[in-house]
Symmetry: D2
Subunit: 378 residues, 4 copies
């Protein structure tokens, strides 16, 4: 029986942001071992990584294609942590070589690319996860199960934000040059910056937690004279007629990566903030607001059991990613061992989720460019 | 030299909500004395009020017209605290008899009525205030002066909510019957419930604090099968091209009268919540967030001086209204004494502010009824 | 039947701190009218007050004795808002002239004086209230009733603070001179500054809320080279053997008048902070923490009904004092009308409460001056 | 040059609490590899662990002595994660075999044992760390450096709590039986439960952050009829004459592992809570309170650079432990490579720190058992 998995990584060199988070999250899982990679577009950096990550030099590659070819049948999955424009080609290569994929979001630059990946993954019966990391927080899973069970009745309103300041400095600059240039350059980032980057997290998280599907949306986007959106306001209509509003901004002076989520129902409401991810405020109709705390009393849905460290000790961001990987690895191991993954094993954002994200930011941009008209999704 | 004012009240019987707040707020000002009133549409209640409020029975009236006629030249102002549909006729009567008016919001049911009041007040050179009470909080004045001084640079985004639960129970009812029936009945409340009632507060407060003027807006409103809106989502474009979003709801399970305000600028941002009105979070670009506290250190705009009780002792809601009345009374006394009111004296929501509110909720309803198209204001 | 009361004030001139709060709190009660006073030790200030407070000049006095003599039988009560060293003589005079008294805290400089006032008030059957204002907050009354009903089981631990910064600047000064000099000068303030001033509030509030009586205590006090205590740490043993700890400081850089209260019981716990007086955190054993909000859902003790403004609109500090006065006036009117005040009417801090406060700070100072030995109370 | 370390573990079987946290924390460091262990007192559990932790069965041992002997010269350090009473014998064995030690707190049951370990470690020049994990939080290091630099001037008062509910249920039980029995049984836990277990964390953390050394203390402890303390109140005098107060309780209904820290100085104050470990409230004299956020703006001490995940993404508890291990491993590798560890490398709680903790809880118990007399430390 298989009990361990090996994995490779594309992107994630010593200076990269998210690759390190993936490695740390996987470091929390004793079953996973990093064995190969193509960590950087720059060869010397790649070699440095091999040493720092304790990966055998013979398994360091200088492009994704070579890696996929050489590692086919040898690794259990690959984690793709490159800029957006590399996702499609890299993911496709690994799928075609029969390797399961965990890919960063947004999945691809275009809807066609995203759907192509979904098609191949399905055909090849490969596991494909997208790192919508925030749905990995235990309390997001708790909210999902509470809502599914009917704790807040029927949903009547949704309000969500993703607020941060990573591009505020851009507004003061004449030229669009800085270290994270690829994010604000359409060539590397696609048609959207803020919405693709942060907005898709909210789009996914709301769907994950509530089950609501977007029917149509309208939007404004602000570029403030730059090439891509930096501040987005969106009104949504879900398939059941309920309305919601999202606000995404990357020019929020001094604000952290704050995600705010409020779900109003006929029998209760739920509120969550990523700055305090271990807490959910739950108000049951006619009762005082309660603060549900991860690992604390008063949580009676199964996800409450996923807590790892005791009440009052914050679990933090790596655990969110680690929870997604835990499910991915559970699924991969079950499949390797000829077993059927359970619903719990499969509780990770899959390739369809990634497709939805790409559709979402395309719809937002389309609406904004057409005087905020309603744009249908699907 | 005049140093005191006398006033009358229309509405505000023993069971009414807001009239009591006006009397308490005025009770905080030793210069003001309640001397007459038409407190209720029901005669017996009216008489009971006279006794409870220590008003001479001879000065209790059974309709606004009689009161205006009898009290012309005798009182300094009238406070109108009746349901919305009574505001116009009552206010008009008092103006026509030369009496200054403080009126509850929303000013009137229609834009025409509101503009009519503005016209008469102007012609007669009478003082006309509208009780947009939240702009009376000291910290809202502090934010206004900080923004005017440039503390947050140029505004680039606005986000605001008014969230409460007063009509959640309505959703569970077959018939629209409850004690506060007039609010949800178009006959008494006009074309809007939530937007007129709570939304106009936000519309005013954002304008008050930022100086921004709305150019156009688009909206969705949800009635959930009832006659009037109970949940509104709005995207706004201000005259300078900046976008904002407002969310108003009266079906937010268990939520207090929560007003959330976030103003993002190129050099800083400000955040305020009515549940903690004595605090403002101010983030200056490149620095750690600060919590400015009424009467605490670090506030260097003149409004900081308006604080009444020491740091850490919350001032509360009555003070917000009392601050508005303080300015109204300052103005009235200056005028009576032949002096010219200063800008600070005039720092209360005037009749034009009331007109803007009525235009605002009309635009929201018009957009919502036209597939969320953009509606220009003015 | 009597329905109104008139009162006089000693202290509380235009620059005084607490007198203004009393007048504002009484301004919220339409039954009370200020008719006379001896507002200042300085005669000119006294005259200015008469005008500002709309008090007839003939009823302004230049010492408490004259006032008591002239107003005996004419006013229902007097509010004493002078520095500590004046309380005893002033209160005694009014009592001796048969006038009910509301006095500021700490009641007197010595235990003997305090007990003397208690004796006279009892003999003369006069109403005597002490302005321990914080127990006037609705949520403190809610906690009291919850505990009395057994909601948290048996109390097992208490922790409370009063933290503020009013004398931090003193530490940087060579000489002890500033506007509030009387507080730090033993001649005017007695043997204690911080403990008498702020500590007695906590001593009273804990007793009010929990019913616990102090058996003995031990303490350290820090004077930092000044004449009186500025920072106190106290461990207490209550009569039932439970321990508690209090921390009082007036040198807490930048801290508001923060009062923190935590009561732990075998079946639940309660937490309250004066910076958010409308909220209580209640944790019932085995359940998630709830935030009880004044006027919100989930409060089922009678005190919940005392809320004046709707949920989400903070009531503020004046209301706390006004609630104490409401009970005092209820009691006075009942007695005038030959009725018996109910327990609810009598829900204000009485003269015995004032005596306890004086005993408390004496015990603290005695312990601190004797190497922190245990000092019995009573 | 050595770049990796291998380690063994004593304690930490599949059901144990803290061992898992150590392994996860070390999993975040790509340099560390678990290669051997004696994970449980029960042999079968030990074998299960080998598999789950991917440790070669040949390197699983059934007592610490055998392990130390067999692994001498082979592993870089051992992590001791057993109940308190095992710490001394296990640590001693490893030291005697020349193996560096990381040991859980409290270091030992008696002061003599603790001093013995310190002596041996010193003689053998071995690295010895104690897992006072909370000082590993980045923001605790930030506070330490701010205070050392003089940001709050001279310290004038300290107040700290450790509040949790792990033994509340004990109060309702007749017999002292539950899964964590060893903690409340003097045989396994020593003379103190709450103070040794939680109190020593606070004792260390205050010293770590402020540099203050305890001169003497007095205390009450409550056992509520059980064998060991469950609720402790302590007043401390530091060597410079400043006073502080600590409150430790394990019977705080529904409270998380809440650690509250407030340090008052002549020029500023600092406040930190473990439930929000990424934030510190800093008030500079005369300015508004600031919230310093890990990885956010406005932190200008070197420790600010230790942040791992971006602003707004909480780092969580594992990172605190991982930060301690990072320094331990840095130190071990430097020493192996013949280099001298820097002050930053050595920034982990060492064996002297462990000794201080044992002295602390002994002094607390001694005071409590002697009518709360002052007990000198050292
Ligand atoms: N899930 C999240 O919350 C989250 C957070 C941050 C970033 N992201 C996503 O992660 C991805 C990477 O973002 P980042 O911030 O880490 O970017 P980054 O610029 O910090 O790192 C990108 C890495 O990819 C490498 N790279 C670039 N082209 C490559 C190629 N052709 N082959 C191999 N390696 C290549 C770079 O050398 C670098 O190591 C993006 O898609 C981004 O949207 C997601
Ligand atoms: N500024 C605010 O925050 C705020 C808050 C609440 C209400 N309001 C506004 O205040 C107004 C009153 O609201 P409320 O909640 O107090 O309503 P309410 O129903 O509690 O009280 C209305 C009062 O008006 C009296 N009344 C009705 N018709 C009258 C007439 N023809 N003549 C004299 N009196 C008459 C009623 O007897 C009653 O005393 C509304 O316009 C509402 O929108 C404003
Ligand atoms: N309950 C509370 O929370 C609270 C808060 C603040 C003050 N206090 C108490 O209130 C009292 C007054 O404090 P304050 O801060 O208002 O002081 P203050 O110095 O601001 O005012 C004292 C007032 O008393 C007047 N006065 C002094 N001697 C007098 C005399 N012989 N006859 C008449 N008037 C005289 C002064 O002119 C001044 O008007 C003190 O006992 C204080 O402890 C209580
Ligand atoms: N630093 C912290 O914040 C923190 C938190 C929790 C526990 N602790 C400390 O960690 C230690 C362990 O606590 P825990 O909660 O994990 O306890 P636990 O009872 O959950 O685990 C103890 C482990 O030690 C094993 N063990 C017992 N005797 C052994 C022996 N002779 N040889 C080998 N293994 C043995 C047990 O089988 C078990 O695996 C205690 O000293 C405790 O004070 C520290």
């Amino acid at each position: 029986m298989f009990k361990e998995v090996t994995y490779g990584m594309v992107g994630g060199d010593l200076k990269a942001l998210i690759g390190e988070c993936h490695r740390k999250a996987l470091g929390l899982d004793p079953r996973a071992k990093l064995v190969c990679g193509c960590f950087s577009a720059i060869d010397e950096l790649n070699d440095e990584c091999a040493e720092a990550y304790h990966v055998d030099k013979s398994r360091v590659y200088y492009n994704a294609e070579d890696m996929a070819k050489a590692e086919a049948g040898k690794i259990d999955f690959v984690s793709i942590c490159t800029p957006n424009f590399v996702h499609y080609s890299a993911a496709k290569t690994f799928l075609e070589h029969g390797i399961n994929v965990v890919c960063e979001k947004p999945l691809t630059l275009t809807v066609e690319e995203a759907e192509d990946l979904a098609r191949i993954a399905k055909e090849k019966k490969l596991v494909f996860a997208v790192d919508y990391c925030y749905s990995g927080y235990v309390m997001c899973k708790v909210m999902k199960q509470m809502i599914a069970r009917g704790d807040i009745g029927q949903i009547i309103a949704v309000n969500a934000n993703y607020i941060e300041n990573s591009f505020l400095s851009l507004l003061a600059e004449k030229e669009q040059v800085n270290g994270r240039i690829w994010r604000t350059d359409p060539k590397y980032s696609g048609i959207s910056n803020t919405c693709a980057d942060d907005g898709t997290h909210v789009e996914h998280l709301v769907h994950y937690v509530t089950g609501l599907k977007i029917k149509r949306l309208l939007a404004t986007t602000d570029t403030f004279g730059k090439k891509l959106d930096l501040n987005d306001n969106i009104i949504l209509e879900y398939e059941n007629g309920v309305h919601g509003a999202y606000w995404f901004t990357q020019v929020a002076c001094g604000c952290p990566n704050e995600i705010d989520l409020r779900i109003m129902g006929t029998e209760g409401c739920l509120e969550w903030h990523q700055t305090r991810p271990d807490e959910v405020v739950y108000i049951k109709k006619g009762e005082a607001p309660r603060t549900l705390c991860r690992a604390g009393d008063g949580i009676d849905v199964p996800a409450g059991k996923l807590a790892r460290v005791p009440f009052g000790h914050p679990e933090g961001y790596y655990i969110a990613i680690a929870n997604i990987y835990r499910s991915v690895i559970d699924t991969i191991l079950k499949l390797k061992n000829g077993e059927t993954p359970t619903e719990e094993d499969l509780d990770f954002p899959d390739v369809e989720t990634g497709v939805n994200g790409v559709k979402f930011f395309h719809a937002v941009v389309e609406s904004a460019q057409n005087n905020s008209k309603w744009v249908e999704i699907n």
